[in-house]
């Protein structure tokens, strides 16, 4: 063995020594206690699983970031990189109507190759919650406030941004019926590149104007709530915004023009929680009503995942690189 191999670990992983381990376990136990207080029950998932059941479900970038290998039986398997579809696969086949709504939580490591981030840890300890069987606005608010409350339990008052993936879908559908053009419009919107937006005259001036303002970031929730194709979803976001006003554990920001790349399993609400100073993404989640159907039971679901590594780093050193004086 070379000397450098004796002293180092594979890129993105490291041992967690006693002080840090104690801090993390303390965060973990407080969060788990809070989840149990809200009637969430724990589910334990395997660390590896077949690749095949998830191929239609996971976004391409998540698949690319997962570690895969052929096991001794000759099957292509993947190390756990995303809990949510694994829970759906575990629960959906045996789910009965009388079991719903079901509140579950999970904890454990995921491993992802984050190739583009400097010094990014590839092994992450996550805790997450799933609310299965409800599609109401109240269930969206419940899961959002729970996520904020868990961070508050860990001593962080997060900034929570929330949007709805259907806004992008409906806006893009109203712009063009051509699949290739839809992909190009989504790409320009998700990167906010207005100069690359190619909108045909058929889209109409109101749609073209809203697309442009979405790309430049000057469209507001009112714009989406009054534009007919997105009005229903915009109104739902408004209602969520109103319901969240009484929650003081976080600063909530509606960001209806936050548009993801295509793919993935989200079907409605989409939210992200950031630390207030360093703006590190510590938790994210949303609604995925079609996910359980793919594994055998058609039931709505919503949930989120919280990354304890990022939370611990924020609490230990909240002055991120951008906050430090050079």
């Amino acid at each position: 063995m070379t000397e450098s191999r004796q002293r180092t670990y594979p890129l993105g992983v490291r041992p967690i020594l006693a002080d840090e381990a104690a801090r993390r376990r303390s965060i973990e136990s407080r969060i788990v206690e809070e989840l149990e207080k809200h009637s969430f029950r724990e589910i334990i998932l395997p660390i590896i699983d077949f690749v095949e059941p998830y191929e239609e479900v996971l976004a391409r970038d998540v698949q690319r970031r997962s570690y895969r290998f052929t096991d001794r039986e000759g099957d292509l398997v993947s190390v756990r990189s995303d809990f949510t579809p694994m829970i759906a696969r575990a629960i959906a086949p045996s789910l009965r109507p009388e079991d719903l709504p079901m509140r579950l939580f999970y904890r454990g490591d995921v491993i992802r190759a984050e190739a583009t981030r400097l010094g990014a840890t590839r092994e992450l300890f996550q805790i997450g919650a799933e609310l299965i069987g409800l599609d109401s606005l109240e269930s969206d608010v419940e899961i959002l406030t729970l996520a904020a409350r868990l961070l508050a339990t860990a001593g962080v008052r997060p900034v929570v941004t929330f949007s709805d993936v259907r806004i992008a879908e409906r806006l893009i559908e109203s712009a063009t019926s051509d699949d290739e053009e839809r992909r190009a419009v989504r790409s320009a919107l998700s990167d906010r590149r207005p100069s690359d937006l190619r909108i045909t005259a058929a889209a109409g001036s109101a749609t073209a104007d809203l697309l442009h303002r979405t790309a430049t970031g000057t469209a507001t929730l009112d714009d989406f709530a009054t534009y007919p194709p997105t009005a229903e979803v915009g109104e739902r976001l408004r209602a969520i915004e109103r319901a969240l006003r009484s929650c003081e554990e976080a600063e909530f920001l509606a960001t209806p023009d936050d548009i993801d790349e295509a793919g993935g399993y989200y079907s409605g609400l989409r939210f992200r929680l950031f630390t207030p100073q360093s703006r590190v993404l510590v938790a994210q989640g949303g609604r995925y009503d079609g996910l359980y159907r793919r594994f055998g039971t058609d039931t709505p679901a919503t949930g989120f995942t919280l990354t304890v590594d990022h939370l611990d780093a924020e609490r230990s050193d909240p002055r991120s690189s951008r906050e430090r004086q050079p």
């Binding site: 990167d191 590149r193 790309a215 430049t216 970031g217 000057t218 920001l253 960001t255 050079p326």
Partner: protein
Amino acid sequence: MSVLRVAIPKGRLQEPALRALASAGLEPPTAADLQTRRLVFSRPDVEWIFVKDCDVPVYVEHGAADLGVAGLDQILEHESTAYQPITFPFGHCRLMVIAAPGAGSIDSAAKVASKYPRVSRNYLDARGLRTEVVTLGGSVELAAVLHLTSHVIDLVETGETARVHHLELQETIAEIAPRLIIGRNVYRTESSRIRTLIARLEESAAREAASR
């Protein structure tokens, strides 16, 4: 509300970039500041950092700067995931394939020199060409002049350098202009402030276009 850290590229884009952002309400460093060798200047709501143009997307990508001004050439080379809401009306040029005298069209037997190895590779791969790419740090046209390579891929402003050295401008890969780039997390969490800045930059660009 935290201070926004803004990355400005040193060199030809520095002055117009500062002017554009100042017109949108950000208080710029003074002329005296800029004559010092300091690279960081603090104002009440903004902290300016001055970096090489190729490093602006790196600082923004990794959160060391909240936003910056970067040429599309550097955005493409770094495959930046930052938002790019504004294209500025200055510093326009083209990223082009330039051939040595008599080199002909680019093919798999050609050699290409460039400061943009990733963009070059993507361009060649898209055409099914297994052409070798030689990465250089500057004065890239010289590689074709001295026949180190048969072609170069580089920025062309007026085409004067190519003309002087009898090089042939063959194909435009991309129209290049500087863009405002903003880190995704900053955009999401500081949305009100960032949106105001974008709206002011748009107004300012529209005023400038109208006055021309």
